[in-house]
């Protein structure tokens, strides 16, 4: 009995900082619709700042609390800076585009933290007065846990008061429901957004600072918290403060009891819970169903059939790629293979994101299924390379068919988070099913057959298969299927009224995107010779998203350009110290300069010429 009491108190305590970081994210998303990847970085910044201030102010309970408050406010101001300098310039960009800028901020903050505070983990200070433990039912509970358990409802209450009882809070809630209407009523939106960013970032910083006595500050805090924060936001329902609280408590409790019952399930537990919640309740516990129309941004422009001019551009490019091995046989070919694979992977995600209107945060699942599919076919059925290469994508397709059935029932960020949940579940299977997948030790020895083993042959093989894959995706975009898909995206009701089976089309698109990502994955395996669970992990999904957004969601060839630029930039910059800082800055620069993506540059110039 006492173990249950202790475990639930422990779960409540760990819910505290989860709640703070999630509620900030939820508020920011609710009002500005920005999917803020940098939120975890604000959390990390809060931890480091508070630790550093505390060192500086020296010991004493007062010193600690002053550090916590100052750190939280400072992080709030950093959030304002990010909003003012970067995001404000791109609110008008297509939906999700801001995500790219916040990803740049993540990279910049990672290296800034490493530069300022060094690589060593920093142990959090203990708070005088709260540094002991209290005996409860024969067990010791740290008194700081009791403090956290007490303060969380108080913070919830304060936030509730702020949003329900103050004019500012009412405006924020109004903006969450209908931004345009609030603007039309004469409310200064710009100032509102900045204030919301201040509050959201401050809460993240506060969460980071308050968890110090439970651990400390280290350079991986940001990555380790951000997925959890999104999960809690989504379980609770986007924009709902009470929802975030309930979800934080739920996740805290599940962790605490989950490890008692299923100690090995730690990797997937949270995502299993999120998947179940979303399947049963597509808008989270307390969220409102997302409206059918895409919430922000200008409507997507019409996709035009490739003009003669663009065909004239494609032909020399393709010829150039075919001729490349005559000029160089060195490393460039290796890099190009990586770019082809990235381009196909990005194109498959774009098919889902652009014409399909479905956001995926877990597209690496299908890339990984293709990769592991090929690897397992070779390992267990001893298939030769070509059959394995061509069969594996269908395994990814089967996975997409299964998961897609659930995903297409959802919308917007909820859909995206369900894809992430599935990806994480598959990832944890690859990590933990040692007898079959080898776990983290992966599967080795997957090199191309002798006829394709040299650099040039594999270059041509991947060029051919990637070009075919990309061409098929483009072809489908302009086939009746693609029109029906775009129609379903732009107006599901009208599409249904004229007899289009919206869900079936989306389901099919999901599967097709999965097959193509699987092809990219199986080509990847043979170019690297080995496969590890990291092909399905979050960073790989994020990379694909970055490439698509960088290239521009609303253009057909943008993702290819995005894949090429991102892969090349990454390869080029990673030779330098602090390359993440530079990569982050480059991304932010590109985002601010080209808010329609690189593929939209031509469009941008054309419209500028017309307007001038």
């Amino acid at each position: 009995m006492s173990i249950i009491l202790l475990q639930s108190l422990t779960g409540l305590a760990s819910a505290a900082s989860l709640f703070l970081v999630a509620v900030g994210l939820s508020i920011i998303f609710g009002v500005t619709r920005v999917v803020n990847f940098a939120h975890g970085s604000f959390y990390m910044l809060g931890a480091y700042l508070a630790w550093w201030l505390h060192q500086w102010l020296a010991a004493g309970a007062l010193g600690f609390w002053v550090s916590v408050v100052v750190a939280a406010v400072t992080v709030g101001l950093v959030g304002v800076l990010v909003e003012y300098l970067i995001l404000r310039r791109i609110y008008k960009a297509p939906e999700l585009f801001q995500l790219l800028a916040t990803f740049g901020v993540v990279l910049v903050i990672q290296d800034a933290v490493l530069w300022v505070w060094g690589p060593e983990d920093r142990l959090g200070p203990q708070v005088p007065g709260l540094d002991g433990a209290v005996l409860i039912a024969g067990h010791y509970l740290p008194s700081y846990d009791l403090f956290l358990i007490a303060i969380t409802p108080l913070l919830l209450l304060a936030l509730w008061w702020l949003f329900q009882r103050t004019r500012w809070g009412i405006l924020v809630r109004a903006a969450t429901q209908d931004r345009e209407m609030v603007a039309a009523l004469g409310v200064n939106q710009t100032r509102l957004f900045t204030a919301v960013f201040f509050l959201g970032s401050l809460l993240a910083g506060l969460g980071g600072a308050l968890q110090l006595p439970k651990g400390g500050a280290d350079t991986l805090l940001d990555i380790n918290i951000i997925a959890t924060a999104f999960v809690i936001v989504v379980i609770g329902g986007l924009g709902s403060i009470l929802g975030a609280f309930l979800a934080a408590v739920l996740v805290g409790q599940l962790n605490a009891f989950g490890i008692l019952v299923f100690p090995t399930l730690t990797l997937a537990l949270m995502f299993l819970v999120m998947a179940s919640v979303l399947i049963l309740r597509p808008q989270g516990l307390l969220g409102k169903p997302e409206s059918a129309a895409p919430p922000t941004g200008p409507p997507a422009p019409r996709l035009r059939l490739p003009s003669r001019l663009s065909l004239m551009l494609w032909l020399p490019l393709l010829t150039g790629l075919v001729a490349l091995p005559w000029f160089t046989q060195g490393y460039v070919l290796v890099l190009m293979v990586d770019i082809f694979i990235a381009a196909l992977f990005a194109a498959s995600l774009h098919f889902l994101l652009g014409p399909g209107g479905m956001i995926s945060f877990g597209h690496a699942a299908y890339f990984g299924l293709g990769a592991y599919g090929a690897a397992l076919l070779v390992k267990y059925l001893s298939l030769p390379m070509l059959p394995a290469l061509l069969l594996a994508p269908w395994i990814a397709g089967l996975g997409a068919l299964l998961f897609g059935w659930f995903c297409v029932r959802l919308r917007g960020v909820y859909l995206a988070m369900l894809t992430l949940a599935f990806a994480q579940i598959i990832w944890s299977v690859a990590m933990q099913w040692y007898p079959v997948t080898g776990g983290d030790d992966g599967i080795l020895g997957l090199w191309p057959a002798p006829w394709a083993a040299d650099r040039i042959s594999y270059y041509y093989l991947s060029l051919t298969l990637c070009a075919l894959g990309i061409y098929s995706l483009r072809r489908m975009m302009f086939a009746p299927f693609g029109y029906a898909l775009r129609g379903s995206r732009d107006s599901a009701r009208r599409a249904e009224a004229i007899g289009i089976a919206v869900r079936h089309h989306q389901w099919a698109a999901f599967t097709i995107a999965g097959v193509c990502a699987g092809l990219a994955g199986s080509l990847y395996v043979y170019s690297k010779g080995s496969v590890f669970p990291d092909v399905m992990a979050i960073p790989n999904s994020v990379d694909a998203l970055i490439m698509v957004l960088l290239g521009g969601v609303q253009t057909v060839s943008g993702p290819l350009l995005g894949a090429a630029v991102f892969t090349w930039l990454h390869d080029e910059l990673s030779r330098l110290d602090y390359w993440r800082f530079l990569l982050g800055l480059s991304l932010i620069g590109l985002v601010v300069l080209f808010p329609h993506g690189l593929g939209g540059i031509a469009e941008q110039w054309r419209s500028r010429r017309i307007s001038s």
Partner: protein, 398 residues
């Protein structure tokens, strides 16, 4: 800029040794997870830089200076393979060295096998690297998961405790360490039983809950494999919740300064650990190393520093013995080679390419507000490896 820096080092080396400009440098490709695990890899980088400077100041290898082309693999095996390819084909390096994470190490090892390139794996701990997936071209320096678990199992067998619990990160490294420790301890003490296993996610430990779960099982002793930020959380919660009171703890890698120093005055006392007590090792070769390191970097060495330093010493010794930079000559030279290191002589076993570099085993204690190792001894790696014939059977044939 790493590349710039190594060029500058090279120049400095040339000048001080008076090597003529005509001596073409021997280029070594080095890759590691500098951004994803800086706490370990940055001291490691200092270590190999020091070695390169010293080697070049002494006239280089085969009368040629060493030049290291260093790259960050970002902790991703796919990147690492691409970088390896670039180092080999564009930078014209004679061999590859480095890597930290096991999966990155395995990916590069498999690449080395396919492209027939010599690979000196510095830090990956997985046993697969030299046994189940071992290959002709891959050699490994650091004592493996198995070896370190064996060192601890030997100590653990001396303890009276028979009811054990384990806590380890939920991936292959944790799994391997726990499996090896269990087997080896039960071989010595068949009456030992393992009554609970906890598997927190790496970097995301819910320390309070894990500690409470361990308390619920009420073991007499605990085997811990968590490290880094997870370890700090575990130590703090465990202390507050009285998990460690009256229980023996045996803990992998915890004595390494990388993981022990961040714990400051909360470093646990009386844990049996593997690690690196640089402050207490009093041998001429180690004193020289520490003095040179502190003079060069104004910082004390971590375990990573020694590993980095030894990596380049090993590479230099192998090239010297091979008399050329030809891959097959390097492999033949490396088999069974012995070289002098700050930790004493280290040999690469001919059968399984594992170095006999050992680890320090001792107990943790507090001194002047920081954790140290006391009652330690140097456990030579060779004593904790299966004999070469047995090891050879675990390797695929060449």
């Amino acid at each position: 800029m790493v590349r710039m820096r190594s060029v500058v080092l090279l120049l400095a080396g040339c000048l001080s040794a008076g090597i003529t400009q005509a001596a073409e440098p021997i280029r070594i490709g080095e890759l590691n997870s500098y951004t994803s695990l800086p706490a370990f890899t940055l001291p490691y980088r200092n270590g190999w830089q020091l070695a390169v400077e010293q080697i070049n100041a002494d006239g280089g290898v085969l009368d040629r200076p060493l030049q290291v082309i260093s790259r960050d693999d970002g902790g991703r095996p796919g990147n690492a393979v691409r970088i390896a390819e670039e180092l080999v084909s564009r930078e014209d390096v004679v061999l590859l060295a480095g890597t930290f994470f096991s999966h990155v190490g395995l990916a590069v090892a498999d690449y080395a096998k396919q492209r027939r390139v010599f690979f000196m794996a510095a830090e990956p701990l997985t046993d697969a690297l030299i046994w189940d997936s071992g290959n002709r071209y891959t050699f490994r320096l650091r004592p493996s998961t198995y070896m370190q678990a064996a060192m601890l199992a030997e100590q653990a067998a001396e303890l009276p405790a028979t009811r054990w619990a384990t806590i380890a990160p939920n991936y292959k490294y944790g799994q391997d360490a726990v499996a090896a420790f269990k087997t080896l301890l039960q071989q010595r003490r068949p009456e030992v039983e393992f009554i609970a296993e906890q598997w927190p996610a790496q970097g995301q430990i819910d320390a309070g809950a894990e500690v409470q779960a361990l308390l619920a099982a009420d073991p007499e002793a605990i085997f811990n494999v968590t490290f880094g930020a997870d370890l700090a959380r575990l130590v703090r919660e465990g202390r507050l919740r009285r998990l460690f009171a009256g229980r023996e703890v045996v803990s992998l890698l915890t004595g390494e300064p990388e993981y022990l120093d961040p714990l400051q005055d909360e470093a646990p006392e009386g844990w049996i650990v593997t690690g690196y007590p640089w402050y207490a090792i009093d041998t001429p070769e180690h004193n020289t190393f520490v003095a040179a390191y502190q003079a060069r970097f104004d910082d004390y060495p971590r375990l990573g520093s020694v590993v980095g330093y030894n990596t380049l010493l090993a590479v230099a010794a192998i090239i010297e013995a091979a008399g050329s930079t030809d891959t097959d000559a390097l492999v033949e030279a490396a088999r069974g080679i012995e070289f002098a290191s700050p930790l004493g002589p280290i040999r690469f076993r001919a059968a399984d390419h594992q170095a006999t570099m050992g680890a320090f085993v001792g107990q943790t204690a507090l001194q002047d507000g920081r954790g140290i190792m006391v009652d330690w001894f140097y456990a030579d790696g060779n004593d904790y490896l299966p004999d070469e014939a047995t090891a050879l059977q675990r390797r695929p044939s060449e």
